[in-house]
Subunit: 433 residues, 2 copies
Amino acid sequence: MERIVPRTLPGFMELLPSDQILFNKIKNTISSVYEKYGFTPLDTPLIELSSVLLAKAGGETEKQIYRFNKGDNDLSLRFDLTVPLAKYVAKNYNELVFPFKAYQIGKVYRGERTQKGRYREFYQCDIDIIGEDNLSLINDAVIPSVIYEIFKELNFGKFQIHINNRKILNGVLEHLELNDSEILRIIDKFDKISKEKLYEMLNEIKANIADFIIPFIEIDGSNDKILEDLSNLNIDNETYKNGIFELKTVIDYLRDLGIDEEYFKIDLKIARGLDYYTGTVYETKLVGHEDIGSVCSGGRYDNLAEYYIDKKLPGVGMSIGLTRLFSKLKEANLINNIHNSIISALIIPMDNNVKYSYDICRLLRENNVIADVCNMEKGFKQKMNFANRLGIKTVIIIGENEINNNFVSIKNMETGVQEKINKENLIEYFKNN
Amino acid sequence: MERIVPRTLPGFMELLPSDQILFNKIKNTISSVYEKYGFTPLDTPLIELSSVLLAKAGGETEKQIYRFNKGDNDLSLRFDLTVPLAKYVAKNYNELVFPFKAYQIGKVYRGERTQKGRYREFYQCDIDIIGEDNLSLINDAVIPSVIYEIFKELNFGKFQIHINNRKILNGVLEHLELNDSEILRIIDKFDKISKEKLYEMLNEIKANIADFIIPFIEIDGSNDKILEDLSNLNIDNETYKNGIFELKTVIDYLRDLGIDEEYFKIDLKIARGLDYYTGTVYETKLVGHEDIGSVCSGGRYDNLAEYYIDKKLPGVGMSIGLTRLFSKLKEANLINNIHNSIISALIIPMDNNVKYSYDICRLLRENNVIADVCNMEKGFKQKMNFANRLGIKTVIIIGENEINNNFVSIKNMETGVQEKINKENLIEYFKNN
């Protein structure tokens, strides 16, 4: 028989069990915190009509789309979760209650050139709060407060949510009599290119503006000091003043929500180049691993679904690019899993005592211990080898002696310690070990 | 501005919040039971090279595939989770530990003609145990024992796992000197077509065989009685006898595993027309709702990955077609959700007391109550209306009086009862309500 090589496409992450367990643990933490904060789950199709999905897209995005025909339909795979959310909200506008708080965790597709750390299929984990006509600024603090709890729980180390407001940057451009979104894209690259190059690129757009813009975005210090410095600058257009007011309000709300001040920081370098954002913008950095880039970004937008519906739907949201984050965390050795199985306790029957072994197993499962019976028709040594290869922590050995005297032999595979435990004390053992 | 109608493709399920919450509850029950039983999570790509995915496919399946080119690659969307599992196991053969117990819950794609209850994008929830060279028959009982626990927990009402063994049917065909898989496909239709039609179809294949086959597959009674009746028939080829031995062994193991006898039943009508299955086969019916058809099916196979690898990998598995199941359960009014939100407790601040409200909210969240603050800049009536439209059960009202005297006013929206609770007793209240 001629066999096909079982390949996986480049740019598609497919994990071995130990990594998949780790990946799911992170994914489950994200979804459970989203839910704890009251965000409703959404699950939109991966395939949409191209006319619907690409209502707004253009340029680079459109080139990367997976697009094809099936029957008479021109279809595309979603390339983010924001467009499907906009479609969903517009389509179900009359059924939804606003402000609408929703989260979605799912795969999206971009046919990028494959290179290290770039994926063609990847998870995004989005939360959004969408208002009708208007949406209180407190939501611009609620969104990062959820992300704060997630990264606290994930415990990868110290992190900081960097916050800015697009109106401040727009106010500066207004002040300089500039109207060029190219400048925002240059500011976004601040940490990636040299200072000389930055001066050059900015001054190319208009002579001498670099001397103003660069010291401006480098303003640093405590959150209060930055806000004070911003107010003291001699810029007095409405856009700029609004931006400072919004930023100050959001910072105050973050304090009201109980977020530890060392976890959020005003950062005037954050521009988020997209036209989409209109107010607060966020990026999140792992302290000491800034080279990973932002692990969770987002911002405030004025109008979620204007391509589909004649209603003003302002919102604010953030997104974790989980697939890329996972690969970067692995690379930086910030996460690791030595277990090839989710099983905590493996029961090894010495003889053919199926019933007794599964009785013990059921007892453990009923008490939330992930347990299983090693039911291979093989010798004891091979069963222990199986447990070892899976990286099981606790092995429960059951022979004739154990059954007759109503106890089990428990071996901690990490310490090598083996002890006899009465069946009645088994659950107690797992509470303590 | 010209707007695009925000449509979703026919055959693609996209749920409103109340249904999505219900759907996810079922999906989470399935995954958590799979994990409790020690099955490792897998997450394979939705897109594969067509040459890899279609190594085995043909006929009807191939016509339904979503297939397209991207760059130089001929790609397809997966149409089930079994082929990706086979590819995964073959590809990672040296890294995996056998028997390999894995589960996968994910979307698959088939471009079927759209009709009621047929989906083009749908979830499958698969569990499989895969051995190397051989796999103990006890696993043919382990798999339905997991499904048993899932449907017990889901609590849709009484259900029965129907079990048969393909060797028994093959033995009967051997006995009748027939070698025609068409007969298995006819048997699969037993409940869907009239008795006359069945006689006609069977006798068309070979004269008078219907008189033997139909009474045979109608053998009924307790599991023990059916096994006895089967043994008493005058058929004595090895295939048939092996089939009875395997079926009896699996039934005995199901009893050893503590499965209540009224939840599983030998059913000689189960043929599972695919060539793929070689031993035990399963279907699951909701008692009183047999018209829904099987809600979870599967069986034993000899060779998972022969198209990819020169290793014998026998296995056994079952799959829940969740999207179709969900739509059928809704249709039959077996499930319902009156809440448009996952929030249990909504805090309504009367004035601008952000900090106190979020303190209460954090306290509840820390104690696993899904809580949120209604932070709309609107009046009390509109906030209560918001709570009503979401179907929130408990509303916590916070005004100046409450803050100054350290209590909250709690209103049960179902009973209309409102009471004052000291902040210290708040968690206690949620434990009892």
